[in-house]
Amino acid sequence: MAEKKSKLSIIVWSGTVDKLYPAAILTSAAASGGWEVELFFTFWGLNSIRKDMLDVAQRQIDRSYEQYAQAAAEAISKMGFPKWYELLAQAKGMGNVRIFACSTTMEMFGIKEKTALADFVDEVVGAATFLERAKDSTITLFI
């Protein structure tokens, strides 16, 4: 059977691990199946891909569920599950995954250089670029 062309686009707005994992897991599954994936990190999502925030985000959970933060962290560690950003880096290594950082948020957070962000970031872009790249997506999510 011919490979169906599919494309997943996600605006990653959240910076807590309970949302970053779903984004990373969907990206990994999609990359494994040969999907094109476009990720646009903005606001708290962008904050979490600062090199010094990757592990901080790993421990952060949405406030509504904060009583579960420690239990979740322990469970993830016991499962031997990769960290959210490791999963993303692996997904990138195996498929057609492009990762973008929002320029406006960078300015807002005082991030001057792309080098302050995780190495898996491809490019600093704006909303117009993301819209143009995502317009033919099969699945589009805001997480």
Binding site: M1, K4, I25, L87, A91
Partner: protein
């Protein structure tokens, strides 16, 4: 059925079994069988969905003691 390679992802959870299967299939010759051993309850439906999408074939699924054995044939 003779298998060209065995991938043991027992104890690993979604999406790791699919990711590892996707890598391992390339190490099997076309027409060869990749044997996947998994405990994740999602492994069977997920690997079937992945195979359908990528054009490979799940030729056999067997329940073993505490895990599942999935045979994937590389078709291209």
């Amino acid at each position: 059925m003779s298998t060209a390679r065995t991938l043991d992802v027992r104890g690993k959870f979604c999406p790791i079994p699919v990711m590892e299967t996707s890598k391992a299939i390339n190490e099997v010759p076309v027409g060869g069988i990749l044997e996947v051993l998994a405990t994740d309850p999602a492994a069977e439906p997920d690997i079937k969905a992945w195979a359908q999408r990528t054009g490979h074939e799940v030729v056999q699924v067997e329940k073993a003691e505490g895990y599942i054995r999935i045979l994937v044939k590389r078709l291209k």
